[in-house]
Symmetry: C2
Subunit: 369 residues, 2 copies
Amino acid sequence: MNRKALSELTLAVGLVGPGAVGKALLEQLRVAIPKLEREGISLEVRSILNSQQMLLAKNTPSIDLSNWDDEVIQKGTDPSLGVLTEHLKASETPHRLIVDCTASSLIPKFYPKWMEQGIHVVTPNKKLNSGPYPAWRAVKTLQAAGAAHYMYEGTVGAGLPIISTLKTLLDTGDDILRIEGVLSGTLSYIFNTMKPGDRFSEVVWSAKRRGYTEPDAREDLSGTDVTRKIITLARECGAELELSDVPTESLVPEPLRNLEDGGDLMTELAKFDDEWAARLREVDDAGEVLRYVGSYDAESGVCQVGPRRFSKSHPFAGLTSTENIVSFTTSRYCNPSLIVRGPGAGPAITAAGVFGDIITLARYMGAHS
Amino acid sequence: MNRKALSELTLAVGLVGPGAVGKALLEQLRVAIPKLEREGISLEVRSILNSQQMLLAKNTPSIDLSNWDDEVIQKGTDPSLGVLTEHLKASETPHRLIVDCTASSLIPKFYPKWMEQGIHVVTPNKKLNSGPYPAWRAVKTLQAAGAAHYMYEGTVGAGLPIISTLKTLLDTGDDILRIEGVLSGTLSYIFNTMKPGDRFSEVVWSAKRRGYTEPDAREDLSGTDVTRKIITLARECGAELELSDVPTESLVPEPLRNLEDGGDLMTELAKFDDEWAARLREVDDAGEVLRYVGSYDAESGVCQVGPRRFSKSHPFAGLTSTENIVSFTTSRYCNPSLIVRGPGAGPAITAAGVFGDIITLARYMGAHS
């Protein structure tokens, strides 16, 4: 009755997109690989592909992870997803996965092709889960039919156990009633920091200075990232939603949405400081706080994204820093709900979310626990 | 490259201990089995054993879960773990598991024998994980060697994702620095409820009236249950600890520990109300609250259990009802930490923790995700 012998469990990995998250993942793998070997899991990084170049492991089972960056420059060839796929398939291990660490909408179009060939997909890329519903449905159908696993813990709350928690609730027959969450580190920081009397534009500026925003802060302020995450969770629960179905309150004032240069944003935003000050004063007078929240109501099937008021004793009111929080209200977890909270953005913890999926995948393939 | 065909994945289950949690689990299974069948997971409950009787599925693959209670009474035979094991092994499926829903210290002695035969063990029973270290070590060694899986999400925080979260942190190479938690629903209620001016004995009485305590409330007040849980988490991190190594502040006053009748407890406890009132007043004057906490410090390797003071803005201060909370402080999740919070006791959610493990096990055996 013993399961696979230790030496058998090898996963061949192709990484697409060695940006901030991809780099952090490769570094985590480099450090962890010796320990995983002792536990019977052998991880071979067979290829790394960025938009300019591709590196393939040829004479060794794995690319040397202490040196891949130099090697990409010296030995990299033209990037080709086709060549990457064939190179993975040529590996002797039956277990192959592609890790998509890009933010591209293009790469997810390849997931079905990979999965049809039995190649598993692990990704923190939000584009498939929150893109056109039919494409998402196609991948989930392949997954349910057992073609390959598709894993994406890193898409919501980085490494926080949010997708896995939701899946377990659903798998064990709990009824999801409501999911609510502060799902953007940037917007969490802004609302956790901003006190009555503060100037909105200055708080946004402080988030930018700390490196919490995208180069153009409007990407964060628009709320779209939150909408993508709440859609991911809602679809997991069975909702057939498109991005355009979700009313999203953008924090970018109408006149600034088409500003050519995001650099002007801060000075322009200052013009709206008084509006925010009044809003915040009113909320504070009522003994409440504002938090930028994505929510899904299972009964109505409706998602909503925007600032909402919470009493000061609500779990969302106590957040600090760039913390994410997700509250699952279910038949079993009803008043109080089940809550996961903690840092939910940044390369290292997003990479850890991806890495966690890779380990789970290894267990699905027969690794010991 | 396709994985196992749908029809192949059958798990044969033997349940030991159909008490409150075991009953809730059987009911959850009964409801979920049709949906799981559609997903390619077939769960066959082959045997149910309590301390008096045993029911075996003989002419059908599974015991009828809508009627097992009556059948135990009508058709039950003498309980025998040996017969139960042989009956499971006689099943045609290669995947067999025993679910131990007892609180017994005896049943865990059989885990190694079962695992050596390739029978997986799933349990919310805390006795192995917090009992003598060598017995725990033996089971973990078998597990690491791939004999069988041993899963126990339900041992800490019932269905809350605490064990799985800790395992993922460890698997992905994070360093655990500190784990702290409010791990007893009963003690959570008592400290969340008790305000300066309240009488300790009356708050304990109100917990008892609501059904939150064991029949003899001293079992909760002693803190041993919390010690068992923090040891479970500490051992997962590599600490070699025995129950007796953990300083545990019992809330049962010395003179009451040997009272014959737990029923006298409430009147006797009242004699200590003034002491508690003074303690609480002092804590409140400092702007703090008391919470009954188990903690593990990885650097020193020390666990401690007892009431501790927290500022009113600390995440532990905001708890309500019987909520559990666990905070993982790690290299990656450091200030703020990673927090899981929610109801952490009760038959239905403990059963859901066990059920979640069974689903995970099915995935480890090749079920689709």
